[in-house]
């Protein structure tokens, strides 16, 4: 249920991602031309066990004649399971309108179901749905299982049903582990929404939501559970996303969970050592370089823009058409890219080089977590790297390792840019001192996956989710940052996948540089004729209304095109360039005090302005 597509499409995706087994979801089998016996062989060939068949619904606590029909149905399914070679079936607590509030009856019928299953060599795992009619808490299901008292009957715990209701989980560690037949894991964001719709539309892989799955799983392991850690995750996006990447994301979430469990005191020692933990993290600590791809048509504009922004072309790649630009502590690479007209919105942030304490270990960990290395002929073959969910290449670079720059040849002195601006001054930049952040719109399907990638593979910390209205739709954003803010990658996506109409930028990306004196920087950019984004006068009228600012300061910002934001801990002054090519632009920021955000309040301003730039009347 975690993946979209048909059964025949899911199996190879699951096997490729490195899973050990599957649950068979009945509707998949029913819509499939593969017979149960063929499915068994197919799974065996792929190295996958079939650990559970599901679901049986509305089985128990029903009138006698209905239960007789249920047993008839169950027998037919047990025969299917025998052909599948699967010996565990999931029975969900009844939601039927005909269900009866009678625990004795429920236990009696569960016993009869287990007895019938046992005749086929099958065990029954009983699970309390959070919206079950009378049984909707894990302890109630556990009580019924004990009451039914059949060796072939146990419980299945599904983290969603337990944690969405806020149930007390303390007792789980006390369950008889032999009767805990199955454990299904799913995370979810905190939502003020009914449990049924919350479950149906918003589950997430472990670590992507707000639930404490480490604690819950540790309690199950402490109780003696030794079965599979199974994922039971579906949401509007996963239900229609490519099963290949979704399976990788799923498997990564389990490895991350294993990593967290390995340091959890509740987890028994012998289990801990069998968890298959990936190599320890070596988190990103800084930005070595950022590469921006640019198509041939925009190459000259980009060169002019970077010169105007005070960058100097210092070196060229020995094999590829890549230029290395420097200013302050910033290294920017521009690579020429054969724009493929079939791919909308190329011309983008193509790669990030990130410093970390142990680059090789970071890369080994990334591969263990299912990330794949860049295709052959990488830009920088001396650095290990992986590909992010949005296809950005991420390179790991040891501290003070500048060996990677050996693929770049210094530009001969006389070829160097003579100066940063048109005024003929000697080059000294415009005061950009560091890369502040790299803002990347994510493909709709991989927004949550990207969060996990940057957290677990790159070692960044997820900031709070923000959601804001913008001229062409609601946007959702989450910044991934190193603890000291040296690496900042704000990710964003549209709340609804953008349709054919949307005239805004497709997948806009931008690189933001830091200035310690943005007023001085902006003056130099203006005098160099850098094409900056135009800010409407109405914006400054609103600033004047909202904040008690000196008229001089405000007048200067207006002349220079600076935007302003303020929060409880500091202020932000920033400006944007126009869009170069189809989707990339640049930003300059000055953070004053403890301001940690990205000026989201001003996002609608730059979205509308960039739209006007590209679609003048």
């Amino acid at each position: 249920m975690c993946l979209a597509g048909t059964l025949e499409m899911k199996l190879p995706a699951i096997a490729a991602a490195g899973f050990d087994g599957i649950e068979v979801f009945e509707p998949d089998l029913i819509a499939s031309p593969t017979s149960p016996a063929d499915l068994r062989r197919r799974c065996a060939d792929l190295g996958l066990s079939i650990d559970l068949y599901q679901p049986m619904r509305d089985m128990e606590a029903v009138p006698a004649e209905e239960f007789a029909a249920n047993l008839r149905r169950a027998r037919a399914k047990f025969a299917v399971m025998q052909q599948l070679g699967c010996d565990l079936v999931l029975a969900c607590s009844s939601v039927a309108p005909t269900a009866i509030d009678d625990d004795d009856l429920a236990a009696e019928q569960l016993h009869a179901l287990a007895e019938c299953a046992a005749e086929h060599g099958i065990r029954v795992a009983y699970e309390a749905l959070a919206w079950g009619r009378y049984v909707n808490t894990w302890d109630h299901s556990w009580d019924l299982v004990r009451r039914a008292d059949h060796p072939g009957l146990g419980i299945c715990l599904d983290s969603f049903h337990i944690l969405a209701r806020g149930s007390d989980t303390a007792g789980i560690a006390e369950i008889d582990g032999n009767r805990l037949f199955f454990l299904q894991l799913s995370d979810a964001p905190t939502l003020d929404l009914g449990v049924l719709a919350w479950s149906r539309h918003h589950r997430l892989y472990p670590g992507q939501g707000a639930f404490d799955l480490v604690d819950l799983t540790a309690k199950a392991l402490a109780a003696g559970y030794r079965g599979p850690l199974s994922l039971e995750v579906f949401n509007d996006v996963f239900r229609q996303a490519d099963p290949g990447p979704t399976a990788v994301d799923a498997r990564r979430s389990l490895l991350a969970l294993a990593e967290d469990l390995a340091v959890e005191p509740l987890v028994p020692e012998p289990v801990r050592s069998r968890l298959g933990v990936p190599p320890a993290a070596s988190p990103a600590t800084g930005c070595a370089f950022c590469e921006v791809g640019i198509d041939a048509a925009s190459s000259e504009s980009m060169t002019n823009l970077l010169r105007g922004m005070g960058f100097r072309a210092e070196a060229r790649h020995v094999k590829q058409d890549v230029t290395l630009w420097r200013q302050g502590g910033i290294t920017l690479l521009t690579s020429s890219e054969d724009a493929d007209p079939r791919v909308p919105g190329r011309g983008q942030v193509a790669a990030l080089g990130l410093y970390c304490a142990d680059a090789d270990r970071a890369a080994q960990r990334a591969l263990a977590l299912g990330a794949v290395p860049p295709a052959p002929e990488p830009l920088i073959d001396s650095l290990p790297g992986v590909v992010a969910p949005d296809a950005t290449r991420i390179y790991f670079c040891g501290p003070d390792d500048s060996s990677w720059s050996s693929v770049f040849e210094p530009v001969a002195e006389h070829d160097r840019d003579p100066g940063a601006n048109a005024a003929g001054e000697t080059w000294d930049g415009v005061g950009l001192v560091a890369l502040d952040h790299v803002s990347m719109t994510q493909p709709f399907d991989s927004f949550d996956e990207a969060r996990q990638f940057y957290a677990r593979v790159v070692g960044l910390q997820a900031q709070d989710l923000v959601e804001y209205a913008a001229p062409f739709g609601l946007l959702r954003g989450r910044a991934m940052c190193s603890p000291d803010g040296a690496v900042r990658i704000p990710l964003s996506t549209s709340l609804v996948r953008r349709g054919g109409w949307t005239p805004g930028l497709r997948g806009p990306q931008h690189v933001a540089f830091r200035s310690e004196d943005i007023v001085a920087t902006a003056r130099r950019l203006r005098s160099a004729g850098v094409p900056l984004m135009e800010v409407p006068d109405n914006y400054y009228a609103d600033l004047a209304a909202r904040f008690d600012l000196s008229p001089d300061r405000l007048a200067e910002w207006r002349r220079l095109g600076l935007l302003y934001d303020r929060d409880g801990s500091g202020e932000l002054l920033h400006l944007y360039t126009q869009v170069i090519g189809s989707r990339v632009f640049f930003e300059v920021v000055q953070r004053i005090g403890g301001y940690e955000g990205y000026g989201a309040a001003n996002a609608p301003i730059h979205i509308a302005a960039h739209h006007r730039q590209r679609h003048p009347d």
Copy 2:
């Protein structure tokens, strides 16, 4: 706020849809390069008044120094409003953490705000947000307005905030109408969701949700309200949809509301006659014909399929390449279509001819409701018609009017299909007696608009919304039907706009014919070699488990490829053909007893099977 895009994009869309005025939403103005004075002129040129400026937030019930800053901000906005020529501002009840639970303070500050506004010739409409910190019900806001006692202060009622909380609205008719300054209307579906998220993501135009807006509006009119009926609607879809169609949808919802208000006893007589009601409905009562477009590459397959299905080509269009096929009470047109490779998924249901008592009045009503007639050179110029939101042409046809068929020339006897099947039998069809339903996937952005179109323009009734999981994503469906079921149009869309990966059919459509004996029909289709969809054996194993069916009956269904469903009132037997071209297929149904559905339980089966047909391993 009802439309996506920039202010400059919204205005022409609003004017074209026939609105009289707008509210200016402050963030739109702030992001706009149009000065307030220019906006005023622009609106005047378009015939639009500016009726409200919004929002003022967190104004009242705050500490004194904060209120002083608020007044400062308000004065700046009042100056903007004077340039706009707008004399009414909306102040929302405070959500600020600094707000104080003190009605006297709130009333005192509202009075001061109104006094300040009055100095600028501006009035203040105070609105209780459903999630206001201390003021969150309409009667509380009304109480504060009376307490503040300033002639320039009144209340604004927003239907969402009132009805989402289930507030008692009886007292609204008793409000002093002169103090009811503004009325904002929005509908919403019933959701088990917190009011803030419900409001932010799920509002709908009046008549598209579950709220009784007729009653609420009638009470406001009874109270003496004579201001604009304003729409305050936003959801994830509208926020990013083309503002042109959204504005038409919005205006249509107001006209429909006016129509309902005109027969509401609470509405005072003089108001009733000024409501601008569209011509009375002449609802669709039956299906005259259905036209399917087909590209050149699929033309031969379509011809063979229709012959095999027992249709006879009886006539050809005098000017266009359109064939008229008949069987039983069914008239099917096939039109050849130059497949445009840039338009994905062409080859579709192109037109429906619907019987109604008064075709001319139906057409006049449709135009009054903002529908547009088909482009020049229509298929059938003697019939009035309009274009549905998904571009399907809808023709209105008087009862027993067959004049439209005069554009078709009978095929000479010797050119007619000699027989319906390969066995050389004399033509007598395969037992298809009527068109049962026409199932159309809607563009993601216009699913709700289509509901309103078919309800108000075509006169069909909306059935309950259904939602179901399918192999390539969750689907949402709603059938639009005539009361006797003679016209049935099930509409569906993906819950999330489909992305690049999705390998299923794009916007599938199908036409379902009714048989009174589907077993006999299926035998004839099989013997004629009609390419029917393959149904997996696993499906029949599941039928056997779920239903107590005779083995003979089941074996026959399996041989013939019939699907089965059952509900409380009857049974459905149905079958599907393979897909012809890129997105069209046919269905045959037999309804037994009172079954009124469309076999949604079997949708995943045909989605997976049609996928396999088009993507064999």
